[in-house]
C-alpha cells in the first residue's frame, strides 16, 4: 500500500524555509535577542534587593499583603541560594516570550471573535501548537535560529500562545448579545464597540489567558535549556545530567517560586477586574 511520505514533505519544507527565508529568520532572531538582552541587562544591573522590593510592592498593590509577603520571602530565598542571576535570565526569557505571545495572540483572538471563518481556521492550528510535542519543533527552531535562547523563546511562544488566543476569542464572544446590540443600536462604530464594550467586558477572561500563557512559558524553561537557553532550566538540567540531585532540586524550587509569584499576581489582576464589573 502506498505510504504518504509526510515526513519527507516536512523535511523538504524545512529545507526550503532554511534556504529561502534566512533573512526573515535573522530578522526575527535580532528582535528576540534584543528584547531578551534588554530585559536581562536591566534585571541584572539593578540590585537584587531593589527588584525584590519592586516585585513585592506590585504584588501588594495587586494581590494584597499575604501574597506580597510570600513574594518577598520567596525571592529572598532564591537570592540566598545564589540562583538570582539564573532566575533573572529565566524571567527575561519568560517575559519576552509572553510579551510576543500577547502581541500576536490578543489581536488574533479579537480577529477570531469577529470572524467565524478565521475562528474555524485558527482553532486547529492552536490545537496543533499545543499538542505537538515541543521537541518536534525545537529541532527546526535550532536549524533556523541556531543554538541559544532564541529558539527557546520561539518554542516557548509557540507553546504558550494558544491560551491567550482562545480566551481572548472566548471573552469577546461571551459578551451578551443584547449588550452588543445595545452598543450598536446607539451608533457605535466597530472600533467603538470593541474598545468601549467588548474588550472591557472580556478583560477578566483575557487576563486569565495571560495568566495561562505565563504559566506555560515557565513550563518550557527546562526544555529551552536543552537547546542552550541559560537560566534556571540549565541548573535543573545540570542537576539531572550530572547526578547533582540537590542542585537540580534548588533550581526546581526557584522555578516553582517564580511560577507561584507570577501566577498569584496575574490571577489577582484578573479577579480584581472581575469584582469591579461584577
Amino acid at each position: 500500500m502506498y505510504r504518504i511520505p509526510i515526513g519527507d514533505y516536512f523535511d523538504a519544507l524545512i529545507e526550503w524555509l532554511t534556504d529561502n527565508l534566512e533573512p526573515f529568520f535573522n530578522g526575527i532572531k535580532t528582535v528576540i535577542v534584543t528584547i531578551i538582552d534588554g530585559f536581562e541587562m536591566l534585571l541584572i544591573a539593578v540590585p537584587a534587593y531593589v527588584i525584590i522590593a519592586i516585585i513585592a510592592l506590585i504584588a501588594w498593590k495587586v494581590a494584597g499583603r499575604k501574597i506580597a509577603i510570600f513574594t518577598a520571602i520567596g525571592l529572598l530565598l532564591i537570592h540566598n541560594i545564589q540562583l538570582w542571576e539564573e532566575t533573572m535570565e529565566t524571567l527575561s526569557l519568560v517575559f519576552t516570550a509572553t510579551v510576543i505571545a500577547l502581541v500576536i495572540g490578543i489581536p488574533l483572538g479579537i480577529w477570531m471573535a469577529r470572524n467565524n471563518t478565521v475562528e474555524r481556521t485558527v482553532k486547529p492550528v492552536l490545537d496543533f501548537m499545543q499538542t505537538m510535542p515541543a521537541f518536534v519543533y525545537l529541532i527546526p527552531a535550532v536549524i533556523f535560529f541556531g543554538l541559544g535562547k532564541v529558539p527557546g523563546a520561539v518554542a516557548t511562544i509557540i507553546f504558550a500562545m494558544p491560551p491567550v488566543v482562545r480566551l481572548t476569542n472566548l471573552g469577546i464572544r461571551q459578551v451578551p448579545e443584547d449588550v452588543v446590540e445595545a452598543a450598536k443600536s446607539f451608533g457605535s462604530t466597530d472600533k467603538q464597540l470593541l474598545m468601549k464594550v467588548q474588550l472591557p467586558l472580556a478583560t477578566p477572561t483575557i487576563l486569565a489567558g495571560v495568566n495561562q500563557t505565563i504559566m506555560l512559558a515557565l513550563s518550557m524553561v527546562v526544555i529551552s535549556a536543552m537547546i542552550g537557553a541559560r537560566g534556571l532550566g540549565e541548573e535543573v538540567l545540570k542537576g539531572v545530567t550530572q547526578m547533582e540531585i540537590g542542585k537540580g532540586f534548588e533550581g526546581g524550587i526557584a522555578v516553582v517560586i517564580l511560577a507561584m509569584v507570577l501566577d498569584r499576581v496575574t490571577q489577582a489582576l484578573g479577579s480584581s477586574k472581575k469584582a469591579r464589573t461584577g
Binding site: P176, A182, A183, K184, G187, G278
Partner: protein, 397 residues
C-alpha cells in the same frame, strides 16, 4: 407624512435568503419553506406606518417575528427585501455613515433584558449614545443626569447597574434611550422581564413620559393587556405576517381571524370596551315641548315603560315613566315639565365598561351617553353591558 414607514418588508433566515425569496413572495408558507429549503421566515411581507407621536404596539407570541421586525427598523438585523423609511429616508441599503447617523440621532432602543453595560456607572451607561458621538464630557454628564431625573433616578448616577433592582435597571435603559433625544423609541419587550407590579408602574410612567415628550414609539410585547393599555394602535403578528392592525377597540370588536380571536379570549374586556361600543340608539325620545299625550303614544308604540326627555338641542333633561304620564293625563295636564325625573346617570362615550358596572347594577333606567356638550348620543341598557363583557355586542340580542 408617517414618521416610520415599513413597506413590503421581508426577513428570511438561512444560507441563501435571496434565492428562496421568490418562493416566499409567491406565498409559500413558513412551514413549507422550512421543509423544502431549510430557510426560516422572520418577517413576511409586512407594511405599516407609524405616525409621529404615536405608540404603535406590535404583539404576537414568541416566534412570531416581532423581535426580528423591530431589529429591522434600525438594521440590527439586515432585512432581505423591502423598505424601512424613517423621516422620509429609506435606511435599507443606505451606507454605513447614514446608518450610524440614524442610530445616533433618530432612533434609540430599549431592550427586554435591559442590556446595560455592566462595567459602566449608571450615568456612563446613559451617556453612552452621546459618547459615541464624541459629545464633550460635561455636556454628556449634564444630559445624562437630566435623563436620569426624567425617569426618577436622581441620586443613582454613580451606582453600578448591578446594584439596582430590575425596575430601576430598566429605567436606566429608558434614560439611555432618552439621552440622545432621538424622536423614535424602539422598545423590545421592554417591560416583559419585570414583575407584574413594577411592570404596571413602568407602563404608567411610560404613558406619563409620552404625554410630555411626544415620542414616536414602536413597542413590542407578547402581553395583550399591555398592548391594549399603552397602544394607540396595535399590529398583531403571526408567523412573520401582520394579520391585523387597528386601535385596541377595533381589534377587540372585529378580530380579523381565529388567531386574533384566540388571543383576545383572555382579555379583560371590561377595561377596553367603551360606552360608545355598547351604546345603542334610544327607541324613542320626547322633547320637553311635547306633551304627555305624545310621550304616552311613543312609549306605547315602542313598548317601553319610560322615555328620555331632551330639549331641542338634544340636551338631556331627564326621564319620565308611563305611569306618571298617564296620571298626568287623567288630571288633564299636558305639560310634562313637572314629572321629569332628573335623577339619571350620564357617561361619556370613552368610559370603559368597568366604570359603568356599578351604575348599571344600581340604576333602574338605562345610562345615557352624552358628548362634551351634554348632548345625548345614545343609551346603554343593562343587557348591553353584559353582552359587552361577553364580547357579543355585534350579534342581535
Amino acid at each position: 407624512m408617517a414618521k416610520v414607514e415599513v413597506k413590503k418588508l421581508y426577513k428570511i433566515y438561512g444560507h441563501h435568503p435571496k434565492k428562496v425569496f421568490t418562493l416566499v413572495e409567491k406565498g409559500m408558507s413558513k412551514e413549507e419553506l422550512l421543509k423544502k429549503t431549510g430557510h426560516g421566515i422572520g418577517v413576511n411581507n409586512t407594511s405599516f406606518q407609524v405616525e409621529e407621536g404615536e405608540i404603535f404596539v406590535v404583539m404576537g407570541l414568541s416566534g412570531s417575528g416581532k423581535s426580528t421586525l423591530i431589529r429591522c427598523l434600525n438594521r440590527l438585523i439586515e432585512p432581505t427585501a423591502g423598505e424601512v423609511i424613517i423621516d422620509g429616508q429609506n435606511i435599507v441599503g443606505c451606507n454605513n455613515e447614514t446608518l450610524l447617523e440614524i442610530r445616533r440621532k433618530k432612533v434609540a432602543m430599549v431592550f427586554q433584558h435591559f442590556a446595560l453595560f455592566p462595567h459602566r456607572t449608571v450615568w456612563e451607561n446613559v451617556a453612552y449614545g452621546l459618547e459615541v458621538q464624541d459629545v464633550e464630557l460635561e455636556q454628556r454628564r449634564k444630559k445624562a443626569y437630566s435623563a436620569l431625573e426624567a425617569v426618577g433616578l436622581e441620586g443613582y448616577e454613580e451606582s453600578m447597574p448591578s446594584q439596582l433592582s430590575g425596575g430601576m435597571q430598566q429605567r436606566v435603559g429608558l434614560a439611555r434611550a432618552l439621552a440622545t433625544e432621538a424622536d423614535i423609541l424602539l422598545m423590545d419587550e421592554a417591560f416583559s422581564a419585570l414583575d407584574p407590579l413594577i411592570r404596571k408602574e413602568m407602563q404608567d410612567e411610560l404613558l406619563a413620559l409620552q404625554s410630555r415628550m411626544k415620542k414616536t414609539i414602536v413597542f413590542i410585547t407578547h402581553d395583550l393587556d399591555e398592548a391594549l393599555k399603552i397602544g394607540d394602535r396595535i399590529a398583531i403578528m403571526k408567523d412573520g405576517i401582520v394579520v391585523q392592525i387597528g386601535t385596541p377597540e377595533e381589534i377587540l370588536n372585529n378580530p380579523a381571524d381565529d388567531y386574533v380571536k384566540e388571543f383576545l379570549q383572555d382579555v379583560n374586556r371590561v377595561k377596553v370596551v367603551t360606552a360608545s361600543t355598547i351604546m345603542k340608539k334610544p327607541d324613542a325620545i320626547v322633547s320637553s315641548k311635547d306633551g304627555a299625550r305624545v310621550a304616552v303614544r311613543k312609549m306605547k308604540e315602542s313598548g317601553i315603560s319610560s322615555i328620555f326627555v331632551v330639549d331641542k338641542e338634544r340636551h338631556i333633561q331627564g326621564i319620565i315613566t308611563i305611569d306618571d304620564a298617564l296620571s298626568l293625563l287623567k288630571e288633564g295636564i299636558n305639560n310634562i315639565e313637572g314629572i321629569i325625573n332628573k335623577d339619571i346617570h350620564t357617561t361619556s362615550p370613552d368610559t370603559p365598561i368597568v366604570d359603568l358596572l356599578p351604575t348599571a347594577i344600581n340604576t333602574k333606567y338605562p345610562i345615557v351617553v352624552t358628548d362634551e356638550d351634554n348632548k345625548m348620543i345614545g343609551i346603554i341598557v343593562r343587557v348591553s353591558v353584559l353582552t359587552g363583557i361577553m364580547g357579543e355586542e355585534n350579534s342581535d340580542v
